[in-house]
Subunit: 356 residues, 2 copies
């Protein structure tokens, strides 16, 4: 794969001095991933934290996110580098009047326990998960700011609405359908009046999608014939495809689309652990004959509309139209296990790590 | 490949009666193509032509077009069926005041020598090549209405401008660069101030592209390493890719694109003769990480703007900014040879068949 320089980057961290008595721990990536991520690809480093300057806050991570993109993006960084990622943190010290102690925030601080930053610094605003104080999620837990009310929720919201642009009555197919993004996309699809068909990796996930989330059909891609499943699940073929996985299944689905179909490419999880690009059935004949539009996206394209997505998802959540599941791993030491877990498809819904 | 029903269709033909003394000959496809098209896939049928009704014309084909899409689209038709295609024809009898004898027209009449139709019938307007009377092309030959001043020219014009949307200074890569569409796309790219790099199948074609048409670089895809050629020819990587061929070369190019790159998928000639979809390196990782947009198109999407393309291309032609080559096959009996020839890449520029 060609080297890339993702637009994703972190809040500029300012913790080079010495603090009172708090130490931060952080994951530093020292080897590029080969196959599945391994603990030995990282070292955990302790950092003294200095006193706060005017305008700064000290945030203690409460939940750290693990997301498939983490497997793909690190190739764009020079090593060693701090590991990337979003977190929900609690402000435990503040010299910024707009950010008081005890407030929960989100930020792209990476895999670290404590962060000093100035939230007013413009360079803090650009990560996949902008620094924002959390709105009142009650009765839901703050961890949702990493899932249905955060980056994955906005990925589903903007990716489906802006890239797929589904119309009521159309058929949407989703791969990785039981994941944080996929399960959310399907529910928005139903809200928009579409037929929604998902592919997931276990029968239990499929049952959850159909019975709990209201998918019209869900298929276990490991046990069904994909073409036969499409024929059964999509009597009017496929208008929109929300692609989380890439791979041969995507070629099969894209070849089953209708004229002027739209594909939102959100991820390619099936190939993230591969060292060579896998070979799959060619897409171009279908693309040209059916005049398909296929577009990849990163959600930070809509950073300026971030609250629109959060607000819409929160409303649907409160109206009971949007459901979620969280898989919670425990302990800062288990970040790598959690990342490997989501890449293996062990989770239904969003996976997060509770730091302590 | 899934069965399709292309929007492309023919003028509704009205020749069931008996005419004075003219007989039409036409190609009827009786077997779906397997591999390269063969003469035995067709039968040539003679048809008596009836007298004209009010509003009708009788047009005699002078040039017939052979285009790569013909190999791909026939799968969408029930057999036996008249072979599809555009032609330049001369009106040799008319009962329509707007279409006088001696006038040249274009139409999607298929592979046939004579056609009776009513050009005012709305159903005649929808083919890839609408029925239009030819503007004054002088000093250029009327056959250009099948090439640089017809469907391929408009494919290049609209496909590049509307799908790729190149900006001055960007780099455009074109495969099938010496064909009717590709050679035209490259020249519009230069007119728009872009760096233009082409891939073609012989050294002679590459020399023609660089020395005659002003491409910045052209590479023989059969003898170069594609990645090395891209590195050499595209120092700023690739912003726009005009894809005529599909296949592994397209995967390599798409993986060499810049953030927010645009791909116009015009054809997939490398796979048209294959009975199974070939396997190529997966595109999704590049699509998502670089947020690429890939869109297939058929030129009849812009039928309502048809004259805009013709007029622009004619102006550039007259200003000397647009050059062309034609390969002329001779004789109605040689249609299949001509079609096979373009699929093998025997032509530079546009291939047409002079009927007699």
């Amino acid at each position: 794969m060609a080297m890339i320089t993702p637009r994703l980057y972190f809040a500029k961290r300012l913790y080079s001095g010495v603090s009172s008595n708090v130490k931060a721990q952080k994951y530093v990536l020292t080897k590029y991933f080969q196959g599945e991520p391994k603990k030995s690809d990282f070292k955990i480093v302790s950092e003294e934290l200095r006193d706060l300057k005017d305008g700064e806050i000290l945030a203690e991570a409460e939940y750290l996110s693990v997301d498939p993109y983490m497997r793909a993006y690190m190739i764009g960084y020079k090593l060693p580098t701090d590991m990337i990622g979003g977190q929900v943190a609690k402000i435990i010290a503040s010299r910024n009047k707009s950010y008081t102690e005890g407030t929960y925030i989100t930020g792209s601080f990476g895999w670290r326990t404590h962060t000093i930053c100035n939230p007013d610094d413009i360079s803090n605003k650009a990560g996949l998960l902008p620094i924002t104080t959390l709105p009142d999620f009650s009765p839901h837990p703050v961890s949702l700011a990493l899932g249905v009310l955060g980056m994955p929720g906005n990925t589903a919201y903007f990716g489906l609405k802006e890239i797929c642009q589904p119309k009521s009555g159309e058929t949407i197919v989703i791969t990785g359908a039981a994941g944080a993004v996929g399960s959310h996309v399907g529910q928005i699809g139903k809200i928009m009046g579409c037929r929604v068909v998902g592919f997931a990796g276990t029968d239990e996930k499929c049952e959850y999608l159909e019975k709990e989330l209201g998918f019209d059909r869900a298929f276990n891609y490991k046990t069904v014939n994909i073409k036969a499943a499409l024929k059964e699940g999509c009597p009017n073929r496929v208008d929109c495809y929300f692609d989380n996985v890439g791979g041969e299944i995507s070629s099969t689905i894209i070849n089953y689309m209708n004229k002027y179909g739209r594909v939102a490419v959100c991820g390619s999880i099936s190939s993230y652990n591969e060292s060579q690009l896998p070979k799959v059935s060619i897409l171009q004949p279908a693309i040209v004959l059916k005049e398909l539009k296929i577009e990849g996206f990163l959600v930070n394209r809509w950073t300026d509309r971030w609250n629109e997505g959060i607000t819409a998802n929160l409303s649907w959540l409160r109206e009971g139209k949007l459901k979620y599941q969280e898989k919670i791993y425990h302990g800062f030491d288990n970040m790598v296990d959690a990342l490997v877990g989501i890449l293996r498809g062990e989770n239904t819904g969003k996976a997060v790590v509770k730091v302590k």
